[in-house]
Subunit: 134 residues, 2 copies
Amino acid sequence: MEKKIKMTPQRAAIMEYLDGNMSHPSADEIYTEVHKMYPMMSFATVYNTLDALKKQNMVWELSVDGDRRRYDPRTEPHDHLVCVDCRSIKDIGHNGHKCPSGDELKGYMILREHVEYFGLCPKCQRKRGMGGDG
Amino acid sequence: MEKKIKMTPQRAAIMEYLDGNMSHPSADEIYTEVHKMYPMMSFATVYNTLDALKKQNMVWELSVDGDRRRYDPRTEPHDHLVCVDCRSIKDIGHNGHKCPSGDELKGYMILREHVEYFGLCPKCQRKRGMGGDG
């Protein structure tokens, strides 16, 4: 049985900030915003709280951005579209896919799967002089 | 045009160590092993060299392990099977999958895709008392 999460004021503040947030902010960005509302909250508290929320599967920690971990309040299956230039991350649906052969997964128990699409967003294509609509 | 990579002694040493290495080692692990053969090579050199190799697409930097970046000398399309307990990473084939709808990708130029399967390896299932063959 999963232990029920204790909703401390710190957790509530961070979840309130993340609620509906689609920008996949980093711990730094979350700290900057939450600190404006709750000036007593330190970076260490924000970081440790994110870690606790992650362990309770209340946020996903994304590692698609090589430079910093990013956080996602959506924890139902979905995939990500990552711009390799501006590092923006867009949520997209998880459509499932052809599973690897049974031999390759032999003995493994699969818990979840996640697809990362790396590419160029329309804005960065234009910056590179490549067109790109939308 | 991609600039041709200059094969410095540092790059050659790291590529030699990584050649055929399927363990997806971290920068720390690469440093420990390469330093045994080339005691003059510092951690900073190893780290910077990995960064240069990554930019030239001669290694992939994997971010599937939340705790540390791991490196993969295979740069043709393939996916990864990650054990959430022991953090072992196994290469598996990339089988392609149903693409997201055109609307979701509107305007994006997709360069590559990567599937992460998170699960439990046979050894860690046994450790948890869950069986697991293979």
